[in-house]
């Protein structure tokens, strides 16, 4: 077998997933530099216009162009998800490694805290942190990262525990390598595969959480658009101006679909059984 590590198999699901995510990233990139209208520009005369040649996806209650907002929202939503996942992953890996490495009391404390966090509804965590940090993008990233870190810790920790027992970690010990070196050289890199799988899944959950937070009034504060707060804000107009909710909803659903499909492909790729064939 050749080194096609991320050479994904040409399954239709993976292709579709890749396509969707490609389009998403493109849109997010585009949204950062260009949108047809200013996504924040208010137009008193053009409120709640249905989709048409002038405003492709219509306008919202402030007369803002929905298409521009969806584009601009893509970059916000994607960057929130990306940063959250990145933060949760990095923190989770470090803590999980420490717990798995130090064991004993450190481990017991880490387990108690992660259990407590897992048993804690995310909403309060989000509200608490948002209120302390100010309701903004960074607060949300931090709050959601805190909510998702325990899952990473758990996965990494249990992986470290089982990796410690594997032959190659023992082999490293027999070579006379120090524990820290062994952790860095052999344990850490081998945690990356399961964490990657977890991270792809998490990306989708974060996207959903962000919109659910907006729905409960705790999301990224308007007027900056995210798909979540666009969707949440569309609620009063659901039957009057359905396009307000349908497009951001569709964006979220399609992104999630893409991520899930891609995640499945990555998982298949990383499955040791698949690798052995």
């Amino acid at each position: 077998m050749t080194r096609t590590w991320f050479g994904l198999p040409a399954s239709p699901g993976a292709l579709l997933g890749g396509l969707l995510i490609g389009v998403l990233l493109l849109a997010a990139g585009l949204g950062m530099v260009w949108t047809p209208y200013d996504p924040l520009a208010i137009d008193f005369r053009a409120r709640l216009q249905p989709p048409g040649p002038e405003h492709w996806l219509g306008t919202d209650e402030f007369g803002r162009d929905v298409f521009s907002r969806a584009l601009a929202g893509a970059s916000t939503s994607v960057s929130i998800s990306l940063f959250t996942v990145a933060a949760a992953t990095v923190a989770g890996m470090l803590i999980g490694l420490a717990a798995g490495y130090l064991r004993g009391w450190t481990d017991r404390i880490v387990v108690s805290i992660t259990d407590a966090l897992l048993a804690f509804p995310g909403i309060l965590l989000a509200l608490g942190l948002l209120a302390v940090l100010g309701a903004n993008k960074y607060g949300i990233i931090l709050a959601l990262a805190l909510a998702y870190t325990p899952s990473v810790v758990r996965v990494v920790r249990s992986n470290v525990f089982s990796l410690r027992e594997t032959g190659f970690v023992e082999a490293s010990r027999v070579m006379g390598n120090g524990e820290l070196f062994t952790m860095a050289r052999h344990v850490l890199p081998n945690c990356i595969a399961p964490v990657t799988v977890l991270a792809t899944g998490m990306f989708g959950w974060v996207l959903l959480s962000e919109s659910a937070l907006s729905f409960l009034g705790l999301g990224v504060p308007p007027p900056a658009p995210t798909w979540g707060n666009m969707l949440a804000a569309s609620r009063p107009y659901m039957s009057q101006a359905p396009w307000l909710g349908i497009y951001p909803g569709l964006c979220i659903a399609l992104t999630l679909l893409g991520i899930n499909l891609l995640g499945d492909a990555v998982r298949d790729r990383l499955d040791p059984r698949m690798r052995r064939i």
Binding site: L40, A41, I42, F44, R47, E61, F62, L127, L130, A131, G134, A135, G217, L218, P221, P222, P223, R235, P236, Y237, M238, S239, Q240
Partner: protein, 498 residues
Amino acid sequence: KAAGDDTVRVSLNADIRSTTPGTNRDDNTDAVVLHVVEGLVAYRENGSVGPLLAESVEISPDGKTYTFHLRSGVKFHNGATMTADDVLWSWNRYMDPATEWRCLSEFDGRGRAKVEAIEAPDPQTVVVRLDAPNALFLSTLARPDCGMTGILHKDSVAADGSWIGPVGTGPYMLADWRRGEAITLRRFADYASLPGDADGFTGGKSPKVETVEFLVIPDASAAKAALVSGAIDLVPDISPADREELKDNPDIEIVAAETMGLNAILFQTRDPLMGNQKLRQAIAASLDTAQIVHAVTDGNSVPNNSVVPTASAYYTDVQRQGFTYDPARAQALLQEAGYAGEKIVMLTNNRYQSSFNTAVFAQAMMQAVGINVELEVLEWGTQLDRYSSGNYQMMAFPYSARLDPSLSFESMMGNKDEQPRKVWEDPEALELLARSMVVTDDAERQKIFDELHRRLIDQVPMIMLFNGSDLAAFNSRIEGYRPWAASKPRLWTVSIAG
């Protein structure tokens, strides 16, 4: 619902907090409880105070003694007849700190008034003596948030003083309260009504519907859906957006009324930047009030730059003179102010759509003249905290309804050293306000309010925008429902068609 069903179902956006008047309450609690209990005096539709359980009130020339002559033949829900003893008993209960009456401090000398004595020379008369004249004594008694100082029968509390339930004199009796779900009221057959039409909380009340059910529906879309599907009959406060949607529905009727709330943009005049009066004037000139109000309320409310509500009896041509929208002048004022593009943060919240939308529109207009303003959207509890500590530069803020202009002014005026939440602390204006609270003559008071308005427009400690309106939507089988300035649904005016 089946025809002939003698129940009106009304949505409430939150459960009531208790059934106790003036204690542990919020707007919804007041709305429900004031169907059950009544006070000696009550607000009329224009914000003036009229007698309710009292036949008449005499004020002594020195303004310190109030004599209430009680109406005869008024029955409590348990059948007992109301007498001066019941008034004394109720008053003493309110004045007991253990009751935790929210308006206790208004009458025990810590606040504006001190009631030195209360006595009942005969069963139909109650005399109250104050330490000093006070123009607001009756308005305070009538305040909905004080529970209208409602007169209760002593059966309302148990022997140990704990609350059982309101035994009042109102047109409806409390039948059932399923927490978090619904409150059921039943018609009081022996209700003794004043003559004439309903006028605010006073006037004629002739309950026609047997049962009133308040259903707790926190979500506005859900309430709308329930109304459309016929699950409920009345939503007292739909959003302007919903009006657009419902107005073509033949089964639904919508009625609007201006309220006495104050929707405003507040400035922190002690902020180094916002302390600059020219800058504030520039901001005022940059805002097209009419445009904002039209957009925020979907044309349902009228613009009002004055603290005196449009529905108030004191709202005159003077109050109609507001800020002028003039971007060029705004820019000139900015120059004069020496404003160099410093960042200004405007707070708003995501609970009250009108505050939020106001902020968004105002931001756009201010940016148009070159003011660098940023929005910070807070959770309501947090904004309230910032408001009360005075820790902000600008904020879009909704004051709840005060029915007397003195109280409206008082809500935003005061010394910031004593109360950081106060907005306007011009000493001369404060003087005027203090006078308006003592003077009982209407013309005199009007003059004071006019003067206050002129100063407000000049000093711009805040920008009043509109009072807001209550949009009630109801099933067309309901007749006689009228929203009014106090934002409190009144079901005693309602009947069911056919």
